[in-house]
């Protein structure tokens, strides 16, 4: 009975937070300005910089061979940015609050992981400056969680699913879902690391933060984003398969692609 009461109280708090803060609470995938101490600001920038550098190198190399590559990355980046702004109602609250997808899984599948890191970095910079989501000093940390972890996990999930000859929908589903999960895991790790100096348990703090993320709508959102990415892949494959071939998402091997 005591346990049940605790569960009810916990759910009430989560419900109230979501109800009053509406969609804003769930923008928590980006660490806001002022949260990270200077030491961690430097660490996350140092971790992210090589990935961004390799992304720039990839684009420059490709741009030399195909001059139309830069406009293509810019357009797809803008499209993925808009996709990441889709308001998705939270099922658990019967649509009273909305959340939004990350989009990095899809951009990693379409553009490759390194270019996706760069696109995510620019999207985060635009969000930090013009939407006050995230921050400038936390940009490195946010690039690590959303750009690096999100892109690479999504990309490899897609490739492994392809190797396992899964239908295209499930490849996209896994890319979207796993990239979301890793993004939140990355943010939880970054916030969890802050307790080390204060004598707290890193693993416990990370697990608690990740648990809160998953409970406050993001768990369901991962699955919804996965399904949407799956449908997107199938839609493009049915209407304009040339796009997926040109971007190197699929090979011209129709036998292995079930939709």
């Amino acid at each position: 009975m005591r346990y049940l009461r605790r569960v009810i109280i916990l759910f009430s708090i989560v419900f109230l937070l979501l109800f009053f803060a509406s969609e804003n609470v769930v923008y928590a995938m980006h660490i806001t300005e002022g949260i990270l101490p200077l030491k961690w600001v430097a660490v996350w920038f140092a971790v992210s910089a090589p990935f961004v550098g390799i992304g720039i190198y990839h684009i420059k190399r490709k741009k030399r061979a195909v001059p139309s590559y830069l406009p293509l990355v810019g357009m797809l980046g803008a499209a993925v940015f808009v996709f990441s702004c889709f308001p998705i109602p939270v099922i658990a609250l019967n649509g009273m609050a909305t959340s939004h997808p990350c989009g990095t899984g899809m951009s990693a599948v379409l553009l490759g992981p390194f270019v996706s890191v760069l696109v995510a970095g620019i999207a985060l910079l635009i969000q930090a400056l013009f939407l006050a989501h995230g921050g400038l000093t936390t940009l490195g940390g946010n690039i690590f969680s959303m750009g690096i972890l999100g892109s690479f996990s999504g990309y490899f999930a897609f490739k492994i699913a392809q190797r396992c000859k899964l239908p295209l929908f499930w490849c996209g589903f896994l890319a979207g879902t796993i990239s979301d999960l890793f993004t939140y895991l990355g943010t939880s790790i970054e916030l969890g690391l802050l307790v080390i100096n204060k004598g707290g348990s890193f693993l416990q703090a990370t697990a608690e933060i990740f648990g809160v993320f998953m409970m406050t709508s993001q768990g369901v959102l991962c699955i919804v984003e996965g399904a949407v990415v799956g449908f997107v892949m199938v839609f493009i494959y049915k209407r304009r398969p040339g796009i997926l071939f040109n971007l190197g998402v699929i090979r011209d091997d129709t036998k292995s692609i079930g939709t």
Binding site: T32, I56, G74, C85, L129
Partner: protein
């Protein structure tokens, strides 16, 4: 999708006022150095000073109060959450505790002050960033980044993405309304399928538009080089005075931030 238009609007940055007239390089130098002082500060007064000064600046250039509040709302929620979480989890000296339906809430003094400190940094930092964004257009920002030797690829991609976000938002908003009016969002399954279709169309249009844009750029002589042509004028007396002001003010702020007042 309306919120995007309101928040992204370049209207405020395109106004002619004393803050928009300041050279973008100076503003970038100011913001970056003040952000680091804000993070380094060991008391709440320096971050709160940044917050109040930024707020006053924004009011003097007639930025609507609601626009400021909308930008500050999420960080404010964050600051309050941090204050509550730290108060409940950090420290030993108990201020007060309450038991509600068997769940014990304990507020601790050290955690409260720690939360207040972090919360003030969130407010200080975010107010500096929004002051910059309310007074700087994307083209000026790109020019400033180029001047600071940020790689061309980043600046050009940013310019491209920013330019086309609004176009895609308009198209998506039209399709979104059309889907909703045809019961495309009636159930969760239908909504997920509709979102997939919507995003699929978005990607296809982005791909097509990229080809058309490249052709248009090629006609104008683009062969894969730099696309940005905005050049910043050399600093005049006013800019040097602002720069000198920064050089004088920064050590004072660093000193003030280092005082362990609270």
């Amino acid at each position: 999708m309306d919120f995007l238009h309101h928040t992204f609007s370049d209207v405020y940055a395109r106004q002619n006022n004393w803050l928009t007239r300041i050279d973008v390089r100076l503003k970038m130098l100011y913001v970056i150095s003040l952000l680091f002082i804000n993070l380094w500060a060991k008391n709440v007064f320096v971050p709160l000073f940044f917050f109040s000064v930024s707020f006053i600046f924004l009011v003097t250039i007639k930025i609507p109060f609601m626009a400021i509040l909308r930008s500050m709302f999420l960080p404010l929620v964050f600051a309050i959450l941090i204050l509550l979480m730290k108060s409940m989890h950090e420290g030993e000296r108990v201020w007060f505790s309450a038991s509600i339906l068997g769940y014990k809430f304990v507020f601790r003094e050290e955690g409260f002050f720690g939360g207040l400190h972090t919360g003030s940094k969130v407010l200080g930092g975010i107010s500096l960033v929004i002051t910059f964004s309310f007074t700087t257009t994307i083209s000026r920002l790109c020019a400033g980044l180029t001047w600071f030797r940020v790689p061309d690829t980043i600046v050009e991609l940013m310019a491209f993405m920013y330019r086309y976000i609004f176009l895609f938002v308009d198209e998506v908003a039209t399709m979104w309304i059309a889907q909703k009016s045809r019961l495309g969002h009636i159930s969760w399954r239908k909504m997920t399928t509709s979102l997939g279709t919507l995003c699929g169309v978005l990607i296809i249009r982005a791909f097509d538009r990229a080809e058309r844009t490249y052709e248009a750029m090629y006609v104008r002589g683009y062969e894969g080089g730099s696309i940005l042509t905005v050049a910043l004028s050399p600093w005049r007396r006013k800019e040097y005075i602002f720069f000198l002001g920064m050089v004088l003010v920064t050590p004072i702020l660093i000193y003030a931030g280092g005082l362990g007042l609270w």
